[in-house]
Symmetry: C2
């Protein structure tokens, strides 16, 4: 273990890649390494990037990587791809472009495929980001498609959230936008060369100005005091709104300046303590939920399940009564097996 | 209750709207009504429509509604919108266009906003679709954005799945596409007037032909025997692939013919029995998961939670050990309150 830790701290790429693969396949690290990771990390704020499919997240990150390298920063990237067993390991064109930085020893990019039933961002994301932080990468960037649950989860994991929007998604984007704005620290409207993007910029500003920000996810950690608010001319409700053109790099410098300023504000001891609490709380909730789901699935694939379904279909019992039986059966199973329940699972 | 049931069966729009609002706000129906709904429905196959944001799902449904009306069918639509508290009740332009059918007494459209922490499709979707079926609407259409968990969930709820794709989403769509193809009965490529859509059509056909379909979700119901396979020239791996232009209606007639043929194949007693089992199993799993999550959140907001977090942060206990304590606490809570746990929740 000491040997591995030593290699990781020295940013040994092979050791890092191996540790990440283990995390990716098993969804967790060696418990000893996990304890160490939890203790040794938390100083570095993580930057989250989210937005609808195809909006240009990888292109933006590519542009940011280039500029961060010019500032001699060593950058770690965790790119979380939408779930599919089939696409595991697939590399996309956009991603490939970003990967040109991967030959640079001071950039480490890891692509993670989320596994279906685990929800959008798994604990693997958290562990990979911690591994990158341990290996001295700073900042650590996390990219994910922002629709559905992912948006809630990236807000829980990342310290700064960049929400990226762009014109050309039809009306449906309105609803997705509303969900994304709730978690944004910075809203970036891409393709600001297109006239429609001006309308989008205005819509975003109006929406942000009109509503107080709902930040339930972050506030759920006890003792959490929220992120520092900035009030600059282009900020609406404390959220910065910026037009950029990721492909040409227009506006990227200004975005980076702002990100770096927010990053600095997150490096206080208080910010770290609240970040640690939030991360641990999220881990606990996710792991316990996953244990419960496994236990429920176990109970639902057993003999009793047929009787439950029959009683329900015949109207002999209410759904609540059956759910009470099912939950008790599942949680008892967890209790009976105790810690064995966990160690026997991959 | 009899009065309400009578009104619902007579397709009284006000009673239907009221029952749906109750479902939407409370996430459930009156238990007595629920038992009745479960017994009285299952004959009508539900058609699911999913695809990335802005691909044209509402426009397609609008076109299908018009043609189904010409065939004297009475159609129910449940449109599930991505989560946001802010957007609750918002009506989109696309949706508004579709809503022109809502003045037609033989079309009933209900828009449902998914609530964040409940995942993509909530039980409300199931109940609303059942209410529509009880009220004599046939077919029942369910529309949702297909990214992340929604795609798995619509496959579990709907009997036929139409997956809609279109050109212009960048490379990221590749991964989303892969996830969507796993659940598709019919793949529809929109905007077939654009040259890029030909490439997309070919990609979809190749991908479907090359891989056996993974249908875990549907196969998870015990005794499930899968949907009837068709093997026509434009079907790849049993999945039909069709180019359409939703806006002009090109190809919509052919799509509808195919949907109606598949719909007929799902009207056997066997198909109904397996559908009933699958739906009940899904309901049980979702409700029990939500009970577990509530119990976990309860435990995590209590006094003990601070000690758990401290022990973890100090490295005094492993995550698994704390998760075992947390799940045990949640179990005690569920047990103590028994069925009251359910009835006291909104």
């Amino acid at each position: 273990m000491n040997d591995l830790l030593d290699k990781l701290c020295r940013s040994d790429r092979r050791a890092l890649a191996r540790a990440m693969s283990q995390v990716d396949s098993a969804g967790r690290t060696d418990p000893e390494l996990e304890v160490h990771l939890r203790r040794a990390t938390g100083q570095v704020p993580w930057w989250g990037f989210t937005g609808p499919p195809g909006v240009g997240k990888s292109t933006l990150i590519d542009a940011l990587l280039q500029r961060l390298r010019e500032k001699q920063r060593r950058i770690g990237v965790v790119a979380v791809d939408p779930s599919s067993r089939r696409s595991n390991g697939a590399l996309l064109g956009d991603r490939v472009r970003m990967m040109r930085h991967a030959v640079d020893a001071d950039v480490f990019i890891r692509s993670l495929a989320t596994h279906r039933h685990e929800g959008g961002l798994s604990d693997a994301t958290l562990h990979c980001a911690r591994l990158l932080e341990l290996a001295g990468y700073d900042p650590v960037l996390i990219e994910t498609v922002g629709v559905g649950q992912n948006e809630v989860e990236i807000a829980a994991v990342a310290d700064l959230c960049v929400v990226m929007l762009g014109p050309g998604y039809g009306d449906e984007i309105q609803l997705i936008k509303a969900g994304l704005l709730e978690i944004a620290d910075i809203v970036v409207v891409n393709k600001c060369d297109l006239p429609e993007s001006d309308r989008l910029l205005n819509e975003v500003r109006e929406e942000l100005a009109g509503t107080a920000r709902a930040r339930d996810v972050r506030q759920s950690a006890p003792g959490e005091e929220g992120s520092p608010e900035e009030d600059t001319p282009d900020a609406a409700g404390g959220v910065a709104v910026m037009g950029i053109e990721a492909k040409t790099g227009r506006g990227v410098e200004e975005l980076l300046d702002r990100l770096l300023a927010m990053d600095r504000a997150h490096r206080t001891a208080d910010a770290q303590a609240s970040r640690d609490r939030r991360r641990v709380l999220g881990e606990l909730r996710r792991r316990a939920t996953s244990v419960c789901e496994q236990a429920l699935d176990g109970a639902l694939s057993g003999e009793e399940a047929k009787r439950w379904i029959d009683r329900l279909s015949r109207g002999d019992a209410s759904l609540d009564a059956i759910v009470a039986e099912l939950t008790a059966a599942a949680l008892n199973e967890v209790k009976k097996r105790g810690q064995n329940y966990f160690s026997c699972k991959k």
